[in-house]
Subunit: 487 residues, 2 copies
């Protein structure tokens, strides 16, 4: 492990973070909030530490898998620690654990909160809290494009934007191009949503914060009843649709604008994603209409919003879906695991993996009749390598294992099974709210500090596609060159 | 599909079943119960139908995969329909659906019951009910040895008793030998448990019925409080230990008696199985001792019994474990999925599959550091083929899918999430009791007929290793020769 390059890059990361805190400082100053000093101090501390780290070493070597792992793993952790400073310094979240939980939840675009009364927070702090979602979403796109293919983690080789078959010398420019496409899309969606929400009569401040939460598929609300506070079908629909948009592989928008809309429409992952949404919306609407709604239109509206919110792992709510019948809740619970598409800001297992897993099962059934046949797994007409298939199944198995063990450990809080299981699913899948004890009308504040830290770990695990973080604990990563040669 | 041979063999199956009802008739006569006539009629009907079917066709061809599937699938169904006759005719279970559910539960060695007050049933009926467990256990052994390797389903090729590498002409004698070993073990364990229970002061009748439920890992109780009615640590321990024994790969007993005890002790599946039991027993004992028990010894005894009962998918209970804290319940819930070892009468996913899945995850982590390495999956020092690995992962994925979809559908009953999920897990894993609505102190009688039939399907799916039953629905199976040439 080359510690020099890791520390240097982490330093740059902190410098960037300190710069990203400036808008929140300006917001605080604009609204003349008491929180502006906390931002000033946080920016200074983060910048100074970042500067020292970035200057400590002079390494200029290539980053290998080990260093990539270390940078990503410690990077998200470090950024969350420093990102928590404004919460602590302003006194809005006095506990370090709570502030860390909230910041991890922000950067991982989870949206699980420990703040019981969000409406009393100063505007600068609220802005920073939601802005972490937007930054986090951006971070995930880099991670997906630049880091995961390098590490070949969890079968994520499957995510390729343009031509398949990587050749070593072409990787760097392609990554840069892809990243550019994704950023452009991300920013375009952001601007479009801002425009539409402002047109719908939402204040600019509320619009910005909700847009950050939507396109980053984060879900931090700024009202205690989340989006239930806005009694407007237009706003519910705009946010519902933009959440759905944010769960789509961003590179498909590029293909779409390049006129390849036939290719987009044929995309198997997109079809499955939209298919699941349609089925879930209809089933839930029928269920809640039968049992508790007077109007089918209203049932459909709420069902669409909640389905879109949960499958994209955003976590906004317009109603307390924890009070819905078990059938609807069970469908939402399933969606927590499905998640969005690869190459989006959504979390969860992701549709491409589910698609491949379903094809593996189908193949196994065929094999009973044709025991000697070699049947390749194909997605969008292209064969998936055995290695990628192995990566995807391992990911699924590991996801389930972490979910189960997590549920067992969290149940030590003395809460019921449904609360415990949904708290783990909602953090691991980067959703936010779960059911009962962690339902949309409550918060994570009631957990012990130990559980809060563990749930923070689940958020990071989910966000970093499990293996990135787990591989970090392999002793191998930390071997070799315990201290770098300081040239 | 060769319908002739299928119908013929199903006919023989019914003839065997009618013979297997005779002991129950004798028990009914011995206790002078009103149920003896229902057995007489059932035996006659089953025998006549069986006789006609077995004589209808004269086919003598080899059984291929298609026919194997059809025989196994329809066989378990048919035997359950006819096995339900005594319950209906005696009026003890007047509803056909209920009687079918109870019989499927018996033959699949699940032990889920719809009988609210089991203590008022006549002795012949109770005997038949428990005897179906014992027959079912025997049926599973045949199935594991003779059918699964032929179909190569779900990676079950991994279960091999003696030398690996099958050669076509050697399969038949090996199957016969293996079957013999398994039967002998099955009967030996049965006799041993009968002796020990009778020595412990249990009446012969109660002993027989509990032994059937133990070695078949079924779990039908004959008291409303299951084994809680027997206030004897000795009895709890004997049954607890014999359940654990019945979850071990039976061929290991053979190896053990052949003096290969070192091989047995090194068996990775056995080690994992025992390891999980030890960890679960200790964790649950500590949890219930801290929260609700006065004596650690008692906590340990109850924890051991329940752990052994659930992991082996038996389902007996000595206490109402549904009232245990969530942590203990969550562990038990996990054990429902783990199940026993391959080549035993236990259900669930089974330890060998879990073992391989864990190794796949471990390999994936190694691959991050050695992207080009080809690392084989080894169990007991032998490499597992890629095909078997694919079979095992497909099985796992399908198991989870059925569990999730099942939970969603069953939740339409209007019950809570924990009840719905545990009902599906407990039927799919052939356990019996779950939590809350289906806890050990309640029964499945409250479900609608549609749900009872669906839960029966889950029991069969779990028992037949999923793929056997699912492949049966492939149109391919039913194509070709729609009617056989009647020679």
């Amino acid at each position: 492990m080359n510690y020099g390059v890791v520390i240097k890059i982490l330093g740059y990361l902190l410098l960037i973070e300190s710069a990203l805190m400036v808008p929140s400082l300006l917001v605080a100053l604009h609204y003349e909030g008491f929180d502006w000093t906390s931002f000033l101090i946080s920016i200074l501390i983060t910048a100074v530490v970042g500067f020292i780290m970035s200057r400590s070493f002079k390494y200029r070597e290539n980053i290998q898998a080990k260093e990539g792992l270390a940078i990503v793993g410690s990077g998200w952790f470090l950024v969350s620690v420093f990102g928590a400073l404004p919460f602590v310094f302003s006194g809005t979240i006095p506990s370090w654990t709570d502030a860390f939980f909230e910041t991890v939840s922000g950067f991982t675009t989870t949206g699980a909160t420990i703040i019981d009364n969000v409406e009393i927070l100063p505007k600068g702090i609220l802005f920073w809290r939601s802005f972490t979602h937007w930054i986090g979403g951006m971070g995930i796109l880099v991670f997906t494009v630049a880091i995961l293919p390098m590490l070949g983690i969890g079968g994520f080789q499957i995510f390729k934007v343009e031509s398949p078959g990587p050749t070593a010398d072409k990787i760097a420019p392609r990554v840069r191009d892809t990243a550019k496409i994704l950023y452009t899309t991300y920013i375009a969606i952001t601007i479009l949503e801002i425009l539409l929400l402002v047109l719908g009569g939402m204040s600019l401040y509320d619009t910005l914060l909700h847009t950050f939460g939507t396109v980053g598929t984060g879900g931090f609300g700024i009202k205690n009843t989340s989006l239930g506070a806005y009694d407007s079908t237009y706003i519910h629909l705009v946010i519902g649709i933009f959440m759905m948009f944010s769960g789509v592989n961003f590179s498909l928008y590029y293909s779409f604008f390049k006129g390849k809309w036939r290719e987009v429409l044929k995309n198997e992952e997109l079809r499955q994603y939209l298919g699941i949404i349609i089925i879930a919306v209809v089933l839930i609407a029928l269920d809640i209409y039968t049992i508790m709604y007077d109007s089918f239109g209203l049932a459909l509206r709420d069902s669409f919003f909640q389905t879109s919110s949960i499958i994209t792992t955003t976590g906004y709510s317009t109603v307390d879906f924890d009070r819905w019948p078990t059938f609807s809740k069970a469908i939402l619970f399933l969606l927590m695991f499905v998640g969005g598409c690869a190459g989006s800001t959504a979390g969860g297992i992701k549709n491409i993996r589910i698609l491949v897993l379903l094809k593996i099962v189908k193949r196994e059934i065929s094999k009973i009749f044709h025991p000697r046949a070699v049947i390749p797994i194909k997605v969008d007409g292209r064969s998936i390598s055995d290695e990628t298939v192995a990566g995807i199944t391992s990911f699924f198995v590991l996801y389930i294992i972490i979910f189960i063990l997590g549920t067992i450990i969290i149940s030590l809080e003395g809460i019921d099974f449904e609360s415990s299981a949904s708290a783990v699913a909602a953090t691991l899948g980067n959703i936010g709210p779960g059911f009962r004890f962690v339902g949309p009308s409550t918060t994570y504040s009631q957990f012990s500090d130990a559980s809060k830290l563990l749930l923070s770990l689940f958020m990071l695990l989910g966000r970093l596609e499990l293996f990135t973080l787990i591989a970090l604990f392999a002793p191998k990563v930390w071997k070799n060159e315990i201290l770098p040669k300081n040239r």
